[in-house]
Symmetry: none
Subunit: 242 residues, 4 copies
């Protein structure tokens, strides 16, 4: 397993440009050649911006560099997105949409409560590992007190199903006696996220502080097991002293 963080390429999203073979003198579809180019440019910009903002934050990223990486002119970037902050908002929305989409695909309802929970924990940890850009972008946005996220209206609806899904699993687990009672699903989700997110997000400082390489394959494996144990340990019902 290779380390998930690489300098030159932070994200593992589907590359926007790879698909277009330098577009020959004629576009493939005669129906909508203009639109396809426009979409492609937009996507390329968004992609480059995601990388740049993740790497350097909102203040640190350079519009010049984003345009260069996207292979388009700066003016076009402004044409499509208005300004740097609006571009950042677009990047955030797309980023959240991706994680929630992947989560939905888990179909947790099909599994027993304990297994469903294990799967959720693994997915979350795995996603954070494979998507360092998610962590970096969310950190950046927190530095700005979620000022940009607050502008998005699609977000609430995006997250409602997640909470409901967890609530449902917890309910089934309590009913079958494998989970303790009274667990708040939001609280639990935050905890699940915490245990992986903080570790990865702060791996660099923690690594220096504790003189350990926290990103080696071995360290990450140990962390995965630890997280599963913490969640499972917490969810165990209290011992019955009858």
């Amino acid at each position: 397993m290779s380390p998930p963080v690489t300098r030159s390429r932070l994200s593992s999203r589907p590359a926007a440009k790879a698909a277009s073979a330098k577009r020959g003198s004629h576009s493939k579809s005669l129906a909508a050649p203009k639109t396809r180019d426009a979409d492609r440019s937009r996507a390329a910009i968004l992609d480059a911006a995601t990388d740049a903002f993740a790497e350097l934050g909102l203040a640190g990223a350079r519009v010049d560099e984003i345009a260069r990486r996207a292979g388009v002119n700066k003016a076009l970037l402004y044409h499509y997105f208005g300004n740097k902050e609006a571009l950042f908002v677009a990047v955030l929305e797309a980023t959240y949409a991706r994680i929630r989409g992947a989560e939905s695909a888990l179909d947790l309802e099909r599994f027993e409560p304990a297994e469903a929970m294990t799967k959720l924990v693994d997915f979350t940890w795995g996603y954070f590992q494979e998507h360092p850009e998610f962590i970096h972008l969310v950190n950046s946005e927190n530095l700005h007190r979620a000022r940009h996220l607050a502008q998005s209206e699609r977000l609430h609806e995006m997250h409602h199903p997640l909470v409901e899904r967890i609530r449902e699993i917890l309910g089934r687990g309590v009913a079958s006696g494998v989970f303790r009672m009274g667990v708040d699903p939001v609280q639990l989700y935050i905890t699940i996220a915490s245990l992986g997110y903080f570790y990865l997000s702060n791996a660099h400082t923690l690594g220096v502080v504790f003189s350990r390489n926290l990103l080696s394959a071995q360290s990450r494996g140990a962390r995965r097991r630890h997280i599963q144990e913490v969640v499972a340990g917490y969810l165990r019902p209290e011992i019955d002293h009858a």
Copy 2:
């Protein structure tokens, strides 16, 4: 209880001016406007820089503004610290020194294992709440992959005692049968930190995402209890199936 994060004043560190009682009794004017006291100026700059970097990050903070807030000339800032990045390093060092100093003062050795652990969890949660600048600065530094922290040599030694203290508590707890065996102290500390740090650090985005005010006094109280439960739940020994 008021929310701990305010825009104009992020930190609650001891004010720099107070610290300077070193000038002997023969200090001429009691209300000297132009300072001419190197220590005081240095401290004022460090203080202002801590606020600014915490609020806006390394890239976002402005040297001009830091000097203004410190009440000194920009040139003096450069005279003392060399450049913006070196100032950031100085801020980080001082910030870590403060939290580790406060931690040492807990004297956890005096308490029973369970109580010591509760105290450590409470301290950590409490410190993060009262010191949003710590969280923001560490986040910023992680954005830079701990590049600046790596330059500091005093850090390792600063953190060694922390790990040893936790290891000792765990050992006593296992011996007296109240803790499970085989817990890695570093892993556990990261978990304790995670549960509070992530919640506070990401309170803004999480608040938008889950449409909840996570920083209300009530929410924070609930989180405190949840964290204690998670840690305690995890540390509980396995049920004896005899």
Copy 3:
């Protein structure tokens, strides 16, 4: 004849604006105020920089002033040249290219050895007089130990023909008995340059030291004759004592 050194305008290079006839015949407005012509802007910057560096040296010249004189924004200057030093390198290269270009145009091969030498000496003296910016720039660069010139790769090839031309003249002169034998062409060129360059370069201090105006038309005429005599006197073959 007016003194060749004037404060406001050191160079007599072909003005940048004149050079831009490249924009096709369909150039809309004849007196476009905002240029939008990259070549013209580049040339204007180079031109202004040549003046400024010649007048004040690398350290003394001001980027602000160069941009102002070129009629462009500072940012554009940085866009084209990167930084002040790189601009200085570009100025040096262009400056050497001009003198070597003018020299080539002499076609010394067409003349008898003695006449060719007289022409070369006159050209050199004349060029130094008419191009005080050459002297000033080269002096500046020597102050920097040719650090910038060493970065240029085009220089060697630029100077090879010069040496070969002198060697050829010397050869012919020895063959026809008008020049002494064993003269090193590089050594001779340095001497020819010395006699004029030093006089003009140091005219100000020498003028003060010897209480003479060395830049009057009369003084300059006298120096020209002196230089011709020195070179001719040196090249005379040894007296044959047969």
Copy 4:
């Protein structure tokens, strides 16, 4: 023979500080301890300034660095010399005084004309080699059009004897038939200076331009011989066509 130009130490003037053996707890002479310290500080500043201005020019040298090298406080430098330009003037005066002093010590009157001339040429070449700071400072001053030198009143009188000495040698040489007639002593002195000064002053650019190391011991020896030949060749009387 060691190379005359070294980066760390440009001048070979008597070091100001070497003489003072760290000045023990008691100054040597009880009579004027204060004065001696003052002189020492002044000399140290002048010395450091000479190095700095020679290395970097007036604009390039830093007052901070001069004070540091002199081992004194910046304020003291200002106390003694007023400002940077005045310090530069003081450096120039001292520099010219040194070369004229050394020249006077030659006692050229004692020698036959041809030998006296050879000695003068050798001295000039030798002095320039051993005192690169002289060349650099004079170049800097020429960049400023002798603005500072013009402020010094002691200069004219300093140089009058030099011209008279050369005139006297020339006169004797013409009388004894070894020199040509009608040579202007000022013109000749400038030529003698040119041939060495330009070579050394421009050694860096010429070295790059001609791809030769002009500062090797061998190159410098060749130049010395060439200069003697040029001067001697020029001074030879015209061939008698009787």
